[in-house]
Symmetry: C2
Subunit: 329 residues, 2 copies
DNA sequence: CTGTTAGCGCGTTCAG
DNA sequence: CTGAACGCGCTAACAG
């Protein structure tokens, strides 16, 4: 294995000089820079990131923290996009990423989790889909021991940024389009989970729309579950004009119920997952670029680790109409 | 951050003694073991795996190498199960895992990939779904620089194990059941990719069945794509008794085509993915426990890294009938 | 059975 | 602007 020592010898300079060139330090003459770079090329040198992490405290190692959904497997698509988006961007930036699941830290205190992450020389964390009930994670963030980027969670301080789309406005927009297209007056809203930030944001959006348009609104919690949404639709959809759901999966459940009841109601979803295509009908939904959001989170974390201040980063979305052939092609 | 040095001081022993206790080395008295363990408890010491990786050459760092399917997103479910199965088992065994995608190594030579992995102190790799065309990976395996476990690929040598189910027999069994239930005589087989080991194994299975039962068999390549399978079914299914597909996704495509043509033919799939539930019909399929397979791969790699010989590990599967309510509940 | 010593590969002062 | 020297936290010979 070729090490920095070999490069130094090959270039006829000291080890530390090589290190400086590699890490873009000032005070190195163009001349020696060139010499070093040539040696790096010739020896095909790849710096050992493990050694770098051990040596410097400000290493580029970060953790991805995901809430793996073992029940509704369809959601996996979103997590997978989060993972791939993050890993690819991290590699671009020369950062190392380690993936963890919430379940691994169940029953552990914030301090234990922190110690574990530190034992892995991890100083940056991206947390996906935290809810209010994830107390340990909230404490971890408050402790500010790590640089954190929270995806879909509104927390930010000096060491913490949040990255997400404007859930409220997106829900407002997609529901509005559905309502206007169909002239609906009373709507059934199938919300997500009780303590989820995302769910609450979307709920605010539909509430605002109902107020603006003077709509009758019934809200029920669907727990982001297809089955649950299906049952709610069976119970309440009949005497409503439209069904608005806080996720595509629930929209599919609702649509199935409607089909089984043999009645038609416009349904709208949220997320823009592929699964949508199999519902057999068209519906409006919000297209989120999960991989892109995740990549943005990595960049944000990179910035934080370079010393930037935490902030609230709101990304864009699109309202689209999905149908079978959109997916297949 | 509490280090091994603190533990040593706290226990009143030498650093190396602590190391020995932690790594279960022989020749340590029960007495000192207890002292050390108590110190570890009291200080809440978590060994720094990065330092361990740097110091010892036989570290527990491994890479997951996945072929991310950006076209047919439904397959993501399988990759996600691979990832989570591997990561959870790895943590149980105290190994660190880093996830990579094939796309990251495109255009790189086996040597470059090897150097990159070594620069990360990685000495074990799990490769998922390699095909014959992945020359670079084949070379990487042949070089035996790394301990490798190949999932769904029949390669094994001193440093390489393979882990998979018996594709041939599974395809034979599931197709046989479908054929027998329906008394089919002529079948359309929609195979996977041309140079895939998995595809070829399954193809052998259906060929053997056709021979054993004297069935008429037509084979077409569906590229594991729903759309492709759909078109094949449109073209050829009409004058066949049954459609057997090398994946669930293709089975769904075929089934849709049949529904649109308004004819019924029994269809059977392979994999047992959740998506199946949305096809609206029942069908036989092979249930693979992807997370379990992945966990087994990690254990196998662990064994290899401890010095075991590579081998061919064949796991079990089940033939099941999937229908809508199986999924929802 | 225990402690001493020498690195692993790199980042980082601090003299020169 | 360059290089020698030290240390990150740990493992692995080797003495004792």
């Amino acid at each position: 294995m070729v090490s920095i020592k070999d490069v130094a010898r090959h270039a006829g300079v000291a080890i530390s000089t090589v290190s400086k060139v590699l890490n873009n330090y000032p005070n190195v003459s163009e001349e020696t820079k060139r010499k070093v770079n040539r040696a790096v090329e010739e020896l095909d040198f790849v710096p050992n990131s493990v050694a770098a992490a051990l040596s410097s405290k400000q290493s580029g190692r970060m953790a991805l923290l995901l809430k793996l959904n073992t029940k509704t497997q369809a959601i996996d698509e979103i997590d997978m996009q989060y993972i791939s988006g993050a890993i690819c961007k991290a590699r671009e930036l020369g950062m190392d990423v380690v993936t963890f699941f919430y379940s691994m830290f169940e029953g552990k205190s914030a301090e234990e989790v922190a110690r574990y992450l530190l034992s892995q020389s991890i100083h940056g964390v991206i947390v996906y889909g935290m809810s209010k009930e994830d107390k340990v994670l909230h404490r971890l963030i408050e402790s500010q021991v790590f640089k954190v980027v929270a995806v879909d969670t509104p927390v930010f301080n000096r060491n913490t940024s949040s990255v997400w789309i404007d859930q409220e406005q997106a829900q407002y927009d997609v529901a509005r389009r559905t309502v206007e297209e169909n002239g609906s007056r009373s709507i059934l809203y199938i919300a997500g989970k009780k303590n989820g930030y995302v769910s609450e944001g979307r709920l605010k959006g539909i509430r605002r729309l109902a107020e603006d348009k003077g709509l009758k609104l019934m809200v029920r919690n669907g727990e982001f579950s297809e089955l649950c949404a299906r049952e709610i639709a069976f119970r309440y959809a009949k005497n409503k004009d439209a069904v608005v759901c806080a996720s595509d999966l629930m929209a599919i459940g609702a649509m199935r119920a409607l089909m089984e009841m043999d009645i038609f109601r416009p349904v709208c979803g949220f997320d823009g997952i592929t699964l949508m295509g199999y519902a057999g009908k068209q519906m409006n939904t919000v297209r989120q670029d999960f991989a892109g959001i995740s990549a943005a989170a990595v960049e944000e974390l990179y910035g934080l680790m370079e010393g930037a201040q935490g902030r609230n980063l709101v990304l864009g979305y699109r309202i689209i109409r999905m149908k079978y052939m959109d997916i297949i092609c």
